[in-house]
C-alpha cells in the first residue's frame, strides 16, 4: 500500500512538451482515474509513474521514496495494459508466476501465490490453458492476476477494458471495483471513457493537452466543473452550452439573458462577472424539462428513444442546438415545437476565459 505524489511532473519528447507540469496527490488506498481525450498524455503520465518513460522534470514519490530514477521493478508497482501483454507461449499459471520465476522463488511459494490470485479472480479452472485458448476478458483477468501476484503498493491500469466488448466492460468494471475493495490497494486507472471514470473513481483527474483541468470526486466534477472543458467532458449526453449576456449582478445572484432563453437568475454570488459580459451558460440535458417557469423554445430536429429516456435535439431561434433528456415515453416528434425549462440552481456559468464563475 502506498501513497503517490506527483509534483511538477513534465515530459518532453524531443523539444515538444507533452506533460506540462502536473501536481497530483493520491492517498493510500485511493482509486484514482486519469481521464481525458485521446492523445492528452494520460498514458505518458502513467508510464512515467511505472518507470517505462523517463521523467523530464519534477518529483515522483511512491510510498515515502522519491522514485524518479528507480527501475520499474523497484517502484512497488504493477501494470495492466490495454493489449493485455500476457506471454503467449506460457500457460496462465506460468504467466501468473512470471515475476516469481524471474526471482527464482521456491515452487511452494509460487503455487500458493498463483492459487490465491486465481481464487480472487475466480479462474482456477483456466490455469493450465494458453492465452490463445482464452477470451479477451479472460486474458485481461490473467494480466490482472499477474499484477495481484506482485503484491504491489500501487496498481496501474492503462485502458484495461478498451479492447473488450460493451457488456463485458460493464462486468469487468464491477469486478475491478470489487477487487479494489478487497485488496484495499492504491490504484491508478487511465481511461478516455468518462463513464468508467465516474463509476470507478474515488478521485478523478481530468487531463487535457498535458495539463490537469480538475481533480475531484465524480460528483464534484459533475456538479461543479471547474471549466468548460471539464463540464463538456464529464456527463453523458454532453452538457449544453449557450452564449448569453450578463444583465444584472447583485450580492446573491447573477442574471443572464438572451433571445433563446429569455432571462435566467442564477442564485450565486460572483464578483468577476460584470453587466454586459459575454458568458456561457451550461445546462445538463437531464436538468431540462418540458414546460416550467422559464421558456426555452426551439424546434425538435432529432429524437433518440432509449426506453428509459428520450434524447431530443432541439434547435433554438439563434441556431444553437441543445440536447434534452426527457422521460422515456414522452410524446415528441421531429418538427415539433418544444418549450423547455432548466433549473437555475443547477446551471453552470462560464466566463469568457472558460473558467466557471
Amino acid at each position: 500500500m502506498a501513497r503517490v505524489s506527483l509534483s511538477g511532473i513534465k515530459k518532453n519528447y524531443g523539444g515538444v512538451e507533452i506533460i506540462k507540469g502536473v501536481d497530483i496527490d493520491i492517498a493510500d488506498g485511493e482509486f484514482t482515474v486519469f481521464v481525458g481525450p485521446s492523445g492528452c498524455g494520460k498514458s505518458t503520465l502513467l508510464r512515467m509513474i511505472a518507470g517505462l518513460e523517463d521523467i523530464s522534470d519534477g518529483t515522483l514519490t511512491i510510498g515515502e521514496r522519491v522514485v524518479n530514477d528507480l527501475p520499474p521493478k523497484d517502484r512497488s508497482i504493477a501494470m495492466v495494459f490495454q493489449s493485455y501483454a500476457i506471454f503467449p507461449h506460457m500457460t496462465v499459471r506460468e504467466n501468473l508466476a512470471f515475476g516469481l520465476t524471474i526471482a527464482n522463488a521456491p515452487k511452494a511459494e509460487k503455487d500458493a501465490k498463483v492459487a490465491e490470485a486465481a481464487r480472487i479472480l475466480q479462474m482456477e479452472h483456466l490455469l493450465e490453458r494458453r492465452p490463445s485458448q482464452l477470451s479477451g476478458g479472460q486474458r485481461q483477468r490473467v494480466a490482472i492476476g499477474r499484477a495481484i501476484v506482485r503484491k504491489p503498493g500501487v496498481f496501474l491500469f492503462d485502458e484495461p477494458l478498451s479492447n473488450l466488448d460493451a457488456a463485458l466492460r460493464v462486468d469487468m468494471r464491477m469486478e475491478l471495483s470489487k477487487l479494489h475493495a478487497d485488496l484495499g490497494a492504491t490504484m491508478i486507472y487511465v481511461t478516455h471513457d468518462q463513464v468508467e471514470a465516474m463509476t470507478l473513481a474515488d478521485k478523478i483527474v481530468v487531463l487535457n493537452a498535458g495539463i490537469v483541468q480538475q481533480v475531484g470526486s465524480p460528483l464534484e466534477l459533475y456538479h461543479r466543473p471547474a471549466n468548460i472543458f471539464v463540464a463538456g467532458f464529464i456527463g453523458s449526453p454532453k452538457m449544453n452550452f449557450l452564449k448569453v449576456r450578463v444583465e444584472a449582478v447583485d450580492a446573491t445572484s447573477v442574471t443572464v439573458g438572451s433571445a433563446d432563453i429569455g432571462k435566467l437568475v442564477l442564485p450565486r454570488a460572483n464578483a468577476t462577472a460584470k453587466v454586459g459580459d459575454e458568458v456561457t451558460i451550461g445546462m445538463r440535458p437531464h436538468h431540462l424539462t418540458v414546460g416550467g417557469a422559464q421558456d426555452i423554445t426551439g424546434r425538435v430536429v432529432l429524437v433518440e428513444r432509449l426506453g428509459n429516456e428520450t434524447l431530443a435535439a432541439v434547435v433554438l431561434g439563434s441556431g444553437q442546438q441543445i440536447i434534452a433528456a426527457l422521460p422515456g415515453d414522452i410524446d415528441v416528434a421531429p418538427g415539433q415545437e418544444l418549450h423547455l425549462a432548466t433549473q437555475a440552481d443547477r446551471a453552470s456559468l462560464f466566463l469568457a476565459n472558460g473558467l466557471a464563475a
Binding site: 520499474p72 521493478k73 508497482i77 504493477a78 495494459f81 507461449h89 515475476g99 520465476t101 524471474i102
Partner: protein, 357 residues
C-alpha cells in the same frame, strides 16, 4: 473450413499464374527430367542411343563397402612387421579388382581406414570423390547453419535498438548480400592469398611476424575452413534482416511487462524474445540449410574443388559431372540425391521445431 474466398479465387490464381508458369518451366520440368535421366546412361552429346539402366547410377554413386583385413602372418602365425614396426596388409587391389570371391567390392577404392587391434578396417567407396563431396557439404552445413544463424541473431539484436545512425550499420551488414557472390569470392581469393594476402598481412602485423604465412586456399587443411568463414560472413546480413523482421513482430508491451516484473536482459531474451522468434528460427534454419547444401559458386571461383578434393561439394560435383564431363545422367543422379537429402532434413527440422501443444 475453406471459405468461398480461398476455394475459388480467380484473381489470386491469375496473379500467381505468371510466376507459377515460370517456376514450372524452369524448376519443376527440369527436375522431372533430372529424375528421368538419373535412370539412364544419357550423356550430354553422344552418338549412342540412350539406355535405361535402372538404379545403376545410384549404385555407382552411393556404393560403399567395409573390408576388414588381417595383417600378413609368417609361418608361425605371428604378424609380420617391417623395419619401422608397421604391420603389412595384403594389397587392397587384390580384393577390388577381378576377385571372383568378392564381387561386391569390384571397382571400389579406399575411402578411409582405421585399425581395430591388429586388424585394419577399410571403408571402400565406388565413387570416392562424391563421398568426399558429401562429407564436405555436411561439414559445411553443420558449421554454417548454427554459426551463421547465431551470428545473424546477435547482429539483429544489436541492430534492433533505437540509436542514432543505426541504419548505417544495417546497411553495412547487409552490403555483402547485395554484392554478387562471384565478386565476393574473387575478392576473398585476394584476402586469402598465400603471399601478400590481406589476411596473412593482418595476422603477421598483429603478431609482429610470428604468424607463419599460410596459403589458405591452397592447403587441404585450411581450404574448406576458409570457404566456410567467408560464406558465413557473406550471407549473415541476409539472415540478420530475417531475424530483425521477426524481432519487430514481438509486441513492445511484452518487454515492458517483463521490465516491470524485473526480468534481466538474459531472462527477457529467454522468456520474451526467443519464444517470439520461434517461427523465424524455423525459417532461418531451413533457408540456411538449403543454401548451404547448394554451395557452389565459392568453390567454383576460389578452389575448383581442390586442393586434393578437400573442397569438393555435392553441387560442384553435379555441375562438374553433368557439364565438365558431359555425364548428364551422373549429374542428374547427384541432383536427385541432394534433393532427397535437403527434403528429409527440412522435414526433420520442421518436426523438431514444431509447436508443442
Amino acid at each position: 473450413m475453406a471459405s468461398k474466398f480461398t476455394r475459388s479465387n480467380r484473381v489470386g490464381w491469375s496473379m500467381a499464374g505468371p510466376a507459377a508458369v515460370l517456376m514450372a518451366i524452369f524448376v519443376v520440368l527440369p527436375f522431372i527430367f533430372a529424375i528421368g535421366l538419373s535412370f539412364t546412361n544419357q550423356r550430354l552429346i553422344s552418338p549412342n542411343p540412350t539406355q535405361f539402366v535402372g538404379l545403376a547410377n545410384y549404385e555407382q554413386l552411393l556404393g560403399v563397402g567395409v573390408l576388414t583385413l588381417e595383417p600378413e602372418r609368417d609361418a608361425a602365425g605371428a604378424a609380420v612387421r617391417d623395419d619401422a614396426g608397421a604391420l603389412a596388409y595384403p594389397s587392397l587391389r587384390s580384393f577390388t579388382r577381378n576377385n571372383d570371391q568378392y564381387p561386391q567390392y569390384d571397382g571400389m577404392r579406399e575411402w578411409f581406414s582405421f585399425d581395430i587391434g591388429e586388424n585394419r578396417v577399410f571403408v571402400l567407396g565406388r565413387d570416392i570423390v562424391f563421398l568426399k563431396a558429401l562429407i564436405n557439404t555436411v561439414i559445411f552445413v553443420l558449421i554454417v547453419a548454427p554459426v551463421q544463424g547465431g551470428l545473424a541473431l546477435g547482429l539483429a539484436l544489436l541492430i534492433n535498438q533505437k540509436l542514432r545512425g543505426i541504419n548505417l550499420f544495417r546497411a553495412i551488414y547487409f552490403m555483402p548480400v547485395v554484392v554478387s557472390i562471384v565478386v565476393v569470392s574473387l575478392l576473398w581469393r585476394f584476402i586469402y592469398d598465400g603471399n601478400s594476402g590481406l589476411l596473412n598481412n593482418l595476422l603477421g602485423a598483429a603478431t609482429f611476424g610470428a604468424f607463419p604465412r599460410i596459403d589458405w586456399l591452397g592447403n587441404p587443411g585450411t581450404a574448406l575452413g576458409s570457404i566456410i568463414a567467408m560464406s558465413i560472413w557473406q550471407a549473415v546480413g541476409f539472415h540478420m534482416v530475417i531475424w530483425l523482421s521477426g524481432l519487430q513482430t514481438i509486441s513492445p508491451t511484452l518487454y515492458e511487462a517483463a521490465a516491470i516484473e524485473g526480468a534481466s536482459p538474459w531472462q527477457t531474451f529467454r522468456y520474451v524474445t526467443w519464444p517470439g522468434l520461434r517461427n523465424t528460427a524455423v525459417l532461418v534454419l531451413i533457408v540456411i540449410t538449403m543454401q548451404a547444401f547448394s554451395l557452389f559458386s565459392q568453390i567454383d571461383v576460389m578452389t575448383g574443388g581442390g586442393p586434393l578434393d578437400s573442397t569438393q561439394t555435392i553441387v560442384f560435383q553435379a555441375v562438374e559431372r553433368g557439364y565438365g564431363k558431359q555425364d548428364i545422367s551422373g549429374g542428374s543422379t547427384i541432383s536427385v540425391v541432394l534433393f532427397v537429402i535437403v527434403l528429409s532434413i527440412s522435414f526433420i527440422q520442421r518436426w523438431l521445431t514444431r509447436e508443442k501443444t
